[in-house]
Symmetry: C2
DNA sequence: TTGTATAATGCGAAAGATTATCAATTGCAA
DNA sequence: TTGCAATTGATAATCTTTCGCATTATACAA
């Protein structure tokens, strides 16, 4: 008789690899995260998790998100607005950056090797080793056609 | 008979130029800000302001800091830690960036024209005009000498 | 499988930063 | 100097996140 409420997911496996106890709630939150390709805040994660398994409290989402971040499974982002937002940590490949549409708030990801290198060089020249880069740019869509949307 | 508690300052002049009513509290906060070359949070600004003129409440510091930011006089910074930090807005010259020492928390400013240009180019190529750059890097001091401090 | 030690959860309270409320005060234009 | 809208101080409210603690579930050994 199966009782498992949420399927396993890549993040659930990561959980095990880190030796974290895999509770039903964590499995559900891991599933929701694996299934997301945006940058939800805790409130939004909670909504998505409850839709999968209603036996979850927001306190556990807060706790799990923190645990996952401490274990390198999640990355916390700050796009302003006063609440933390989360996404699955980049694997091996380089970090990515975020462009926020000033009008819509939409978040657009981008990678740029030159930027990676330049930041590293700058920090090196200042006598430091680069630990973390916190970068997001806010932009406004250029009107390509007159009277454009 | 003079009653003016705080001297005028570059920021106080800016206040007038923007048509903002120049109250005693604002003059004091403007003076404190002009006098600072670091990145104080509101609590710290409050301390410094009270040292100059005790007739100031923290609510007014919050209000003033917000007003100044909305008027381009101040820039709000987020170095993590949950509280906003402030500094006088860069005048004409380009923005600067911040390197945070991972161990001491010390904030080191730097400018880099190549970085300015690269960010602008990247955003342009994505079809946007650059509005704001939010960038800070965390670094750890390289040991230059063995056994170094 | 069953039992147990331990870690995790749910719920509400607490904390910490910032904003809102509102009566009293003040800057400033007339 | 007056008048009045804008600002202030004190404090309550709000918002996000963390804590405390009794209850429950997981991992693991018997
Ligand atoms: Mn933030
Ligand atoms: Mn912050
Ligand atoms: Zn992203
Ligand atoms: Zn600075």
């Amino acid at each position: 008789m199966k009782e498992q409420t949420s399927p396993d997911s890549p993040l659930a496996d990561l959980c095990r690899q880190r030796g974290l106890k895999l509770t039903g709630q964590r499995r559900t939150i891991a599933f929701v995260l694996s299934d997301s390709d945006d940058h939800p805040d805790v409130e939004e994660l909670y909504r998505r998790a409850v839709a999968v398994d209603s036996r979850i409290s927001i306190a556990t989402v807060y706790r799990t998100v923190r645990l996952f971040e401490e274990n390198g499974i999640l990355q916390r982002r700050d796009f302003g607005g006063g609440r933390a937002r989360y996404e699955v940590a980049d694997g091996d490949h380089g970090d990515h950056y975020h462009l926020i549409d000033a009008d819509s708030g939409k978040v657009i990801e981008f990678e740029n090797a030159e930027l990676d290198a330049l930041l590293d060089t700058i920090v090196q020249q200042m006598g430091y080793g680069l630990v973390t880069t916190r970068l997001s740019v806010v932009g406004r869509k250029k009107a390509k056609t007159r009277g454009g949307n």
